[in-house]
Symmetry: C2
Subunit: 209 residues, 2 copies
DNA sequence: TAGATTGTTAATCGATTAACAATC
DNA sequence: TAGATTGTTAATCGATTAACAATC
């Protein structure tokens, strides 16, 4: 499949649409419109139509979008029809929380490798998987062909772990460590540091209550 | 203080600059340039200068920026000089991980209220604080004047909890639940659903390894 | 002084919105 | 048919980058 060059910002909205559509499905809705979906996710109807039109014609004039059909199309576009294996590095509190996060499995993700450098954690079980020594990370991830990873190590260790992940062939990283990572061209990083999240909001708060 | 209308996207980059500058401080660096900082965070030098110039003139031609000075200015702009109290709703795995997240305290945040609706969790201790019954949320948060909250409850409960937070006077919400929240004008939500994070990346991955 | 780097302006680039013909 | 809503074009809006005078 030749992939046209779709702006990042559009791609990043698709999972939000998908999430809302699946929510509608749980309410037994059959169809929706760009207006209704837009209201749900806080995005203009025109933008939703424009975004979707990048990938095809999924709606019908007069009636809108068939939800099940649009869900399947979005899943196809985002490639979440298949199950992606994910590696997780750093079994601290955040690592454990992600390991047990219930939302991955029915969205096409499965964490199949866990790493830590703490001897007391190595070998312990997470579900059916054992925590492995970070020293074996490059070999293990490369051998398994894993392309997605989550980094939950302390800031000091995050760049080194990232280098190893890249070396192992990982192409996309979710970073929970409070540090900017440097990665080669073609590797994507998403930052989820919760304190940055909070700092983005205090700007808007009034100083005195 | 009268606050000029600074675009959201600029404000959202400031914590990233701040984080990188503090990292430089730990390496005993005294000054930096827009170019050096830009390389560190992956943003163009021109953009950094433009962003900072919205708030004042913090640099010197020829020599760049004094790191300590810029840090203090950014902390002032983002209002993280003071300590902000934060409420946390939902003491599942993610809630616990955030409760123990080490990066908040030295960035101006302190989680001082914990809520859950599970009777077996209510009354248990998190550090020096007790987990409270969600039923008392509105009153407790309002009384304490808390403006920031993190939502870590299941998707089904997230909108209801959000409504209560808004009623209690919360102005900014970090949402870890996999659902779009509807909030009144003036309340800000940031979405940190980890599965959306992953779905944003699979689009770019090759289907066959 | 010579070199470096800022803050800012103007030019470019890209994203969002408004509007509407097409059509279900 | 009448009403609704799409997909798309053109217009608007906003953000990024390039360039450079000012100056440390």
């Amino acid at each position: 499949m030749i992939k046209r060059d779709i702006p990042d910002i559009i791609v990043s909205r698709l999972p939000v649409y998908l999430r809302a559509l699946r929510h509608m499905q749980t309410q037994n809705l059959q169809t929706t419109s760009s207006q209704e979906l837009g209201k749900q996710v806080g995005i203009s109807a025109a933008q939703i139509r424009k975004d979707l039109s990048q990938f095809g014609e999924f709606g019908k004039q007069g009636t809108g979008y068939n939800i099940a059909f649009l869900v399947s199309k979005l899943r196809e576009i985002l490639q979440v029809e298949k199950v992606w294996d994910v590696a997780l590095v750093g079994m601290g509190d955040m690592g454990h929380a992600l390991a047990r996060y219930p939302g991955f499995t029915d969205r096409g993700f499965r964490i199949t490798m866990f790493f830590d450098n703490d001897q007391s954690k190595i070998g312990t079980k997470v579900g059916e998987f054992k925590v492995q020594d970070t020293r074996g990370l490059v070999g293990a991830i490369h051998a398994a062909g894993i392309k997605l990873a989550m980094v939950c190590v302390p800031a000091e260790a995050a760049q080194e772990v990232t280098n190893q992940l890249v070396e192992a062939g990982v192409r996309s990283i979710l970073n929970y460590a409070p540090i900017s990572l440097s990665v080669p061209e073609g590797v994507r990083v998403q930052y989820l540091d919760p304190s940055v999240g909070l700092q983005r909001m205090t700007y808007y708060l009034d100083q005195n209550k």
